[in-house]
């Protein structure tokens, strides 16, 4: 009896995993086609600058509060955490540089991107998803206005352009946070702190750190748009599009980050 039950349980869980795997590959292939469509459309006029600017403004307003708090706290906490360790190794004076390097190369870009994904990818997924299920996308199409160009391309471009700006802003705030932490614990002049930071960061740290955020912004926009644009099954589908956008874009950000870090290290290894 018992073994029979486990048997059906196993076969059920196997079939569930097969279904998941199938869905995963379906998403990958669908997303690839969607990206191809994006590049087919993005360079051909009309460019919809007004619409892109509108989305950038909205994205900025939507994410600025949360990334501000996060940026400041990352710097502060990182400095607080690292201080005892650095002092133990007799490297206390390297603290500002160490924090700056971590924030510029990795933490600033990735954490900003993950927060951006949580806030924006879900938003785009829900927005386009509800436009799909209430036939607004069909309405646009039947009025001879290309909905992909008007809804998808503009949002993806806006995400791609705004995330690097947000990241630079977050980096500055983190550096300020770490300055405060160091100032409060061991006292340091702003001049001295600035010198230490500027001396420890090179172009080869700054450029790849910022450059990869263009990819992250693109991922957030395209995944949210893909999930929303292809929403099925009414209102329930909208919720699913919204949550799965966040999961997929966050995972992709981390994966792409890994690849890009490897590539950067290869290029700048000498």
């Amino acid at each position: 009896m018992d073994s029979e039950e486990t048997n059906t349980d196993t076969s059920k869980s196997v079939s569930v995993s097969v279904k998941r795997l199938y869905e995963f590959f379906q998403t990958v292939s669908g997303l690839s086609l969607f990206i191809a469509e994006f590049f087919k459309k993005v360079f051909i006029p009309p460019y919809e600058f007004a619409e892109i600017k509108k989305h950038m403004d909205e994205l900025g307003v939507k994410t600025l509060p949360i990334v501000s708090v996060t940026g400041f706290i990352i710097g502060l906490v990182l400095a607080m955490q690292s201080q005892p360790v650095m002092i133990r190794f007799g490297a206390g004076s390297f603290l500002p540089g160490m924090v700056a390097l971590s924030v510029v190369r990795e933490l600033g870009p990735v954490i900003t991107a993950l927060i951006f994904a949580g806030r924006v990818s879900s938003g785009i997924g829900a927005e386009l998803g509800s436009m799909r299920v209430t036939e607004q996308i069909d309405a646009m199409e039947v009025s001879a206005i290309n909905p992909f160009r008007f809804l998808v391309v503009t949002r993806v471009v806006a995400c791609t352009l705004i995330l690097p700006m947000l990241t630079i802003y977050v980096i500055f705030l983190s550096l300020f946070g770490s300055f405060l932490a160091i100032l409060l614990s061991q006292g340091i002049s702003f001049q001295l702190y600035l010198n230490a930071v500027v001396h420890s960061i090179e172009f080869s740290d700054l450029i790849p750190g910022i450059a990869k955020t263009f990819f992250f912004g693109f991922i957030v926009g395209i995944v949210g748009a893909y999930k929303g644009y292809n929403t099925e099954n009414g209102t329930e589908g909208v919720g699913k599009a919204s949550t799965s956008s966040v999961v997929i874009s966050s995972l992709l950000i981390l994966l792409v980050d890994m690849v890009l870090v490897k590539v950067t290290l290869m290029i700048w290894s000498n």
């Binding site: 927005e127 509800s130 436009m131 209430t134 036939e135 607004q136 069909d138 309405a139 646009m140 199409e141 039947v142 009025s143 001879a144 206005i145 290309n146």
Partner: protein
């Protein structure tokens, strides 16, 4: 030449056959009503005609052009001459009523800002909703949305209009007004219309020609008068309840 011609159109979703070899001809300037129970594929049929859905097989001609084989640009040129009222109205949630109406005008035609404003106001006047111009869709009732959707559909003065249940959910007076508006449009602009409806009051005002869909096929096509007085059990059943209303209400 027929303005709209559908030839051997079939459409299935998964295992469900929704349209099964439908053929239909609608002359220029003619109004046709399409009847059928909920879920028979009336919406699917008119969506196939404008290629919002790709049929599995068959052909659709609008003004002699094979819609299903046109390139995107050519298709859009044809679509600029078509109006489509969605069953759900499908207003753009993020835009005000004014923006909803001016959107197709600004995007597809070269009107000045002043001309657009005039057109928006006159379209709203036609559906008696001038006061809603600065409202957002979320602030409108279902019936108001439908009327705004209608205003957005007619604002570009299309040559062919497809209405998906234009009067469902509206009160009898508005139903009559909307139906008369559709008739006026046909007279003024010589539009060809396909009207999906359950509403015999609306149908009698609008059209003389009717099509009844059942099980994916055309069950009846022809004169509306004959249809209403038919002896076919299905058609009789379909129209009895409505007919009582019409008799008692004496539609003119």
């Amino acid at each position: 030449m027929a303005e709209v011609e559908v030839r051997n159109l079939s459409k299935t979703f998964g295992d469900t056959v929704v349209l099964d070899n439908i053929s239909l001809k609608i002359n220029e300037g003619e109004n046709v009503v399409v009847f059928g129970r909920s879920g028979t594929g009336k919406s699917v049929l008119i969506k196939c005609i404008v290629r919002l859905l790709e049929p599995d097989s068959g052909e659709v001609f609008i003004e002699g052009q094979n819609i299903l084989s046109l390139s995107e640009n050519k298709l859009n040129e044809v679509r600029k001459q078509i109006g489509f009222l969605f069953q759900s109205a499908a207003l753009y949630d993020s835009m005000s009523v004014r923006e909803n109406l001016s959107f197709p005008l600004i995007r597809n035609f070269n009107f000045t800002a002043k001309e657009v404003e005039t057109k928006v106001k006159s379209a709203l006047e036609k559906v008696s909703l001038e006061e809603a111009i600065d409202k957002m869709p979320a602030e409108l009732s279902g019936g108001m949305k439908k009327r705004i959707g209608l205003a957005r559909t007619i604002i570009t003065e299309p040559k062919l209009i497809l209405y998906d249940e234009p009067t469902t959910g509206l009160d009898p007076i508005t139903t009559k007004e909307i139906s008369q508006l559709i008739v006026e449009l046909q007279k003024d602009l010589k539009t060809t219309s396909i009207v999906v409806t359950h509403d015999l009051i609306c149908a009698k005002i609008i059209a003389s020609h009717a099509v009844v869909l059942k099980d994916g096929r055309i069950k009846y096509e022809g004169n509306l008068e004959n249809l209403v007085s038919t002896s076919d059990p299905f058609l009789k059943d379909f129209f009895t309840s409505d007919m009582l209303e019409v008799k008692n209400g004496s539609v003119k």
